[in-house]
């Protein structure tokens, strides 16, 4: 329902115009000019929508009171602004009154030297209108490519119906406060001393500037195709964010929710990788679908806004009428993906890929003792050294001989990457071709064929106490120590 109303009040019939109260009369006559156009610019980083609407008004010479009311809506009254789109040099807002006896109403007193029609623009902020993005990813049966469909959904709980509205969706986190502060400084004001009303003024101005370029885009995309087709959503980067402009107009009624296709990529290249990265994915080997938001993937026109992704795979077993049936894989929320960046979809643990860590052996060597009260260290296995009974262990190397056992029971080869932290002053010994990821992290991996098993064997030597001289992991190519119990058993 429409609750935002502009009344053109004919005070001339009353024969009297008060300077202080334009409409404090018991008998009024008013006309209700309709909206000609309305444009919504919806930010998803805050509950904020800039509404710009135009209406045609016939002015007469002299004073013209205009009443604007917004009962039961979520408009910020301090943000309401009136602008004249034509005859601006002959029209002027003489004063604005917020009547004390009527909430959610204001009255502009417009002085006019122009007798005739003029177009006005009323802009304001409202909350309660929001938008969100979501995606459907369907991998092909061999998981080499995927179709990606992006959607935007606009919801309106603002209390107002917006019919035939141009809709623009702002992608990215816009720090309006900063823009407000900058505008204030440009105007020679200290941002910290701005009143609420002044802040809103600058906020409106900032938002208005931020969408100025989108006007041009909307004009370019205004041509309506001859046959019904999904609406294009024009994407344009502006400063630190993007604006998605929905082609044509939409009815965005109160309590409504509407979802539109944003883009579709038919066969985006897909890479499957199994990763062990405890910092990112927990202590488990997870399967990932990796794609890139670029033109090679039929994407890359805009960043991908935060949103939920549903991931399916097409079945290939012939049980579903030409292999068109789906298997559900996962559902998750992805964060903002810039153009050119990777889209990583974590499908979780694959029960067909085993991953276990086996401790084959631990032992200590290079043990140093220190006599109590004396700053002398002696290594226990040094020939001819005599160690006083009153000595304690002050430094030692701890060896961990480990096996990461990986089992691939899937019907295809898998790529595995293991990234593990090795803390302290440590050495990582293996024949795995491990590389240093950072100061305390090693990374290794490879490809494992279908049905194959692999034992990734390595030894970590950690230097403790007096032995610890550094804080870094060094990587050494070599064989891990064999298990001692095995040596005993095979003696």
């Amino acid at each position: 329902m429409k609750r935002i109303v502009v009344l053109f009040v004919f005070l001339g019939l009353l024969g009297f115009l008060s300077e202080s109260s334009a409409v404090a009369k018991n008998i009024d006559l008013s006309t209700v000019p309709d909206r000609d156009t309305v444009q919504l610019t919806i930010y998803n980083s805050a509950d904020l929508t800039l509404v710009r609407e135009t209406r045609k008004i016939v002015f007469r010479d002299g004073n013209n009171p205009l009443q604007f009311s917004w009962a039961n809506t979520l408009i910020d009254p301090t943000s309401v602004q009136l602008r004249f789109l034509n005859h601006a040099d002959k029209l002027d807002v003489l004063d604005t009154t917020f009547p004390h006896d009527r909430p959610q109403v204001l009255v502009w007193n417009v002085g006019s030297e122009h007798a005739g029609e003029a177009t006005i623009e009323i802009s304001y902020f409202t909350s309660g209108v929001s938008w969100s993005a979501d995606y459907t990813v369907i991998a092909n049966a061999d998981e080499s490519a995927a179709s990606v469909e992006g959607y935007v959904t606009v919801s309106n709980q603002s209390g107002e119906d917006y019919e035939n509205a141009e809709v623009r969706l702002v992608v990215g986190t816009i720090n309006l406060v900063e823009q407000i502060a900058e505008l204030a400084r440009n105007a020679g004001r200290d941002p910290s001393e701005l009143s609420r009303r002044e802040q809103n003024f600058y906020q409106l101005d900032a938002a208005r500037r931020s969408v100025a370029m989108a006007d041009l885009l909307m004009a370019e995309s205004a041509a309506v195709p001859a046959s019904p087709a999904p609406k294009r959503i024009v994407k344009q980067g502006l400063s630190e964010y993007f604006i998605f402009a929905i082609e044509g107009t939409e009815d965005i009624g109160h309590n409504s929710r509407k979802r539109l296709a944003s883009f579709a990529a038919d066969a985006a290249p897909l890479k499957v990788q199994y990763r062990y990265r405890p910092r990112e994915y927990g202590d488990q080997l997870v399967r990932l679908f990796l794609m890139t938001n670029d033109t090679a993937s039929d994407m890359g026109v805009s960043p991908l806004p935060d949103g939920q992704v549903r991931i399916f795979r097409q079945k290939d077993d012939g049980t579903s009428g030409g292999g068109k049936g789906l298997s559900f894989l996962s559902r998750q929320h992805v964060k903002y993906i810039p153009i050119g960046d990777d889209l990583e979809l974590n499908l979780g643990v694959d029960p067909d890929v085993g991953f276990e860590l086996i401790t084959q052996r631990t032992f200590r060597d290079n043990i140093w003792l220190q006599q109590r009260g004396v700053n002398v260290f002696k290594r226990i296995d040094e020939p001819g050294v005599k160690i006083h009974d009153n000595s304690t262990v002050a430094g030692w190397d701890q060896h961990w001989v480990m096996t990461r056992r990986i089992r691939n029971d899937t019907p295809r080869a898998i790529e595995v990457e293991i990234r593990q932290a090795v803390n302290g002053d440590a050495t990582f010994i293996s024949r795995l071709g491990a590389e240093r990821f950072d100061n305390q992290t090693v990374v290794y991996g490879g490809t494992l064929g279908p049905g194959a098993r692999f034992d990734a064997e390595y030894e970590v030597v950690g230097r403790h106490g007096h032995n610890a001289k550094q804080s870094r992991v060094e990587i050494v190519e070599g064989d891990p120590a064999p298990p001692a119990w095995l040596a005993e058993a095979t003696d």
């Binding site: 032992f363 001692a484 005993e488």
Partner: protein, 428 residues
């Protein structure tokens, strides 16, 4: 046609009966606007509706926790913009997962009819209702098959097994069943049910119905009967007498040479029976006796499942700490020696092999030797079971020996004594 307004649209009365069903309701309603095209559903008041029935339904149970339903319906579309209304009640459809795909003309027509261009223009969600409306454009008046996929709650699966062992317990027949429970509030007629392994089942499944189906039967699987004494996994039988509990397991290898090994065996309850006579000896076939049941874990290819059947009370294992000794290396640095003694008697009238195991860290805790870091250990000279070390079941955390036990000789069982010495090296 007698009709009644339901949520702002006209629905034939016979269809209304469908709506009034107390259980779940799912409807797909393409709306043909015959007078003029009205862009908004909210504004359209006079409409003619067809109710396309489900042509085909698949229930995909291959995901661990989610159930995907895919249904195909043939939807008539007029040239221009159509509204297709999908609504549900008393079901647990997750609306955020609904995927609508146009497959093309229905199969019998697909050879003669040009594929129309069909596009989904938008989706609207009527406020306060379990429904959504697709705006679909079509380049021609035709019928197309659409596939609607969604996740649904309350429709779950589980696996269970029935194993019948031969009289001599050397082999068994394993039957794998899937049990589908439908508490989703929606009945599905002649549904293709895919469990993630095996074939697809074509079965109806009604509301609140549970259906159990045989997925596969594996005949003559070799089975190994094991007896294990391991204090820290299976506990005491009688702690005051130092007697260990000795469980008996059936071990089934999920391997190709054992008749399995094609796929992982999903977790599930296994009920185990045994034939009470050899095959062919009893007229009419052997009957079976219930041996016990256990919950089998998820068993990947190449792994084995140990099914616990019961405690073998005829194998008595007494475990005591025979000796402890600390060898000082220097200062506060020691090698700590622990010797365990096992006195074992087999009161069965057949020879068996006992697996004797120790969990190293649990043993250190038991003896008060645990510290922050795990310890290097080696077998000490007092160990008498070196020849029986099971390499595959021994690592830093566990040591396992196989001990052969002779059958009871008349009234007397031979007592076999073994010792295990473990040296924890470089401790302080």
């Amino acid at each position: 046609m007698v009709s009644r307004v339901y949520r702002g649209v006209l629905i034939p009365l016979d269809a209304e009966n469908l709506l009034m069903k107390p259980l779940g309701r799912m409807l797909l309603i393409p709306v043909m606007m015959i007078a003029l095209l009205v862009p908004s559903l909210a504004e359209a008041r006079i409409k003619l509706i067809t109710l396309p029935v489900r042509e085909r339904v698949e229930i995909q149970l291959d995901h661990d926790t989610a159930t995907l339903v895919e249904e195909e319906r043939v939807v008539p579309l007029v040239q221009g913009v159509n509204q297709v209304d999908f609504s549900w009640a008393n079901t647990q459809i997750d609306p955020s997962t609904i995927v609508f795909r146009v497959l093309g003309p229905p199969a019998p027509e697909s050879g003669d009819v040009d594929t129309p261009e069909v596009n989904v223009l938008s989706v609207t969600y009527p406020p306060g209702e379990n429904a959504l409306v697709w705006q679909v454009s079509s380049s021609a008046s035709t019928s197309v098959t659409v596939r609607i996929s969604y996740l649904i709650g309350g429709l779950t699966k589980g696996f269970n097994y029935r194993a019948v062992a031969a009289y001599d317990e050397s082999t068994l027949t394993l039957s794998q069943y899937i049990r589908v429970q439908n508490f989703a509030g929606e009945a599905y007629d002649d549904t293709e049910i895919y469990a993630g392994l095996g074939d697809t089942f074509l079965k109806p499944i009604g509301v609140n119905e549970t259906k159990q189906m045989l997925v596969e039967r594996f005949e003559n699987l070799p089975v190994k009967k094991t007896y294990t004494a391991d204090l820290h996994r299976f506990g005491w039988l009688d702690q005051t007498q130092y007697k260990l509990r000795v469980p008996m397991h059936y071990r089934i290898e999920n391997a190709a040479d054992a008749g399995l090994g094609q796929a992982a065996l999903p977790a599930g309850k296994v009920r185990i029976f045994q034939k009470d006579s050899p095959d062919g000896e009893t007229p009419g076939g052997a009957t079976t006796a219930f041996l016990g049941e256990d919950f089998a874990p998820h068993t990947p290819i190449g792994n084995h499942a140990d099914l616990f059947l019961g405690v073998a009370q005829d194998i008595v294992v007494k475990r005591t700490v025979e000796a402890r000794k600390d060898d000082r290396l220097a200062g506060n640095l020691y090698d700590r020696r622990v010797t365990m003694k096992y006195e074992i008697e087999n009161f069965k009238d057949e020879a068996v092999t006992l697996n004797l195991a120790e969990q190293i860290e649990a043993l250190r805790r038991e003896l008060g030797l645990a510290s922050g870091q795990s310890a290097e250990w080696v077998l000490g000279e007092a160990t008498t079971m070196r020849d029986g070390l099971i390499i595959d079941e021994t690592n830093q955390q566990q040591i396992t020996f196989a001990v052969d036990l002779p059958a009871r000789n008349g009234d007397e069982a031979e007592k076999i004594t073994h010792t295990l010495e473990i040296v924890f090296k470089n401790q302080w």
